[in-house]
């Protein structure tokens, strides 16, 4: 339907919509996050839900303690290698459609602990992430912005056609490999179907003292 006609009708008190719009509007207005936090970012996440920042304005105040009832996983904090299998398992147990916000430097890349022996270099190695929020920790406004970005993303999703989201494509996976503990590291160290190493030209990395060619 023509957007102009639609707004003209709305002015006259007639609401015209499509099934897709209604479906997306319903989903984006009731995102229920999973109630879990991993480190200091979780404190900011809690602050976001409280009266001052009031996440309830966007319909996302119902933090569910069970993955079966949650739509959104906010990975808030450092993911240690010991915790990573549990995080992936929780994601696998969530019902489709499900979304992931990777909150803070640690959840994105390992952050200040990136070169440590026990920290996962980003949760996107194992599960698909929809919105990344940089910051250490990000302010509540940044988390609200991520919510609005996710809502826009949901609003634009097609119900049919090749562009439709993962949960509407039967052949796409809804569960991802849970890494196993081993003697030295997690196995596998990453899920190659969803994570690719950064494409950078590294041939000159550390070629000489000055860092130039």
């Amino acid at each position: 339907m023509d957007e102009q006609l639609k707004s003209e009708l709305r002015r006259q008190g007639v609401v015209a919509t499509s099934l897709q719009e209604l479906y997306n509007w319903g989903r984006k207005s009731s995102i229920w996050p999973l109630n879990f936090g991993l480190a200091c970012c979780a404190i900011e996440m809690i602050a976001t839900t409280m009266a001052r920042y009031d996440l309830a304005r966007f319909g996302a105040e119902v933090f569910r303690p069970s993955p079966r009832q949650a739509d959104l996983m906010i990975v808030a904090g450092t993911v240690t290698k010991k915790m990573a299998p549990q995080v992936v398992r929780l994601y696998n147990q969530m019902a489709e459609p499900k979304y992931v916000i990777s909150m803070g430097a640690c959840a994105i890349s390992g952050g200040p602990f990136k070169q440590g022996y026990n920290v996962l270099k980003g949760i996107d190695r194992y599960i698909p992430v929809d919105v990344f929020i940089p910051g250490c920790p990000p302010r509540p406004e940044a988390l609200l912005d991520a919510f609005l970005m996710l809502q826009r993303k949901i609003d634009e999703q097609q119900l049919t056609g090749p562009e439709r989201p993962r949960h509407l494509q039967a052949e796409q996976p809804s569960e991802f490999i849970v890494p196993q503990y081993s003697e030295h590291d997690l196995i596998p160290t990453r899920n190659d179907t969803i994570w690719h190493a950064p494409l950078v030209n590294i041939s000159n990395a550390g070629a000489n003292e000055s860092g130039r060619d």
């Binding site: 070169q115 026990n118 503990y181």
Partner: protein
Amino acid sequence: MNLEEIKIQIEANVPGCFLEILPNASPSGQHSLIVDTEHALTVASFLRDGANPRFDYCSNVTGVDWPLKETSAKQKTKKIVDGVEKEVEEVVKTSTGNYLEVVYHLFSLEDRQGPVVLRMRTEDRAERVHLPSLTPVWRSAELQEREVYDLFGIVFDGHPDLRRLLMWEEFTDHPMRKDYVDPDDYEYEPTPHDEILKRTQAHYAAQEPRSEAGEAR
């Protein structure tokens, strides 16, 4: 409170124990007491129950790794060669370290004294890494001894529940040891330097043969 006095107290009450004061040259002057492993448990019980003041609180347990360090220095000595006195240069080799150490910080809450620093050393870094656990004396040492076991690989005999604390059970390494080699899961760094630069180069050197085999970069 003086560490010398405490040492004399212990020696008078725990027969046969071997103590050594390790001086700390820094302004804090926090000297520590090296305890022999055989009498450590008796010394600890005495410090808690019989000493004056009584050290009833163990606030901190940590480990230190001392890898083998060999230094060689040239030394000039006078020797008689063919009946003539000559100055001869000799290379003297000295080696230090090659042991793991565990450090306890003790306080007396009654008399507001402390800390007294106890140290114990293992015989080497590979096989003979057993030390007596002081958890039976100070319960607060339990989790921290588990952490030392996890990260340094010191085995505490007499510990009620010696399992890994931070790393998973299947893990076999001890990450805080100086010779720990972590798995090569290097990822792009915008400005690598020092240790990270070495890891960058090692990582891409290991990747090189694979990319030549047809993987276009």
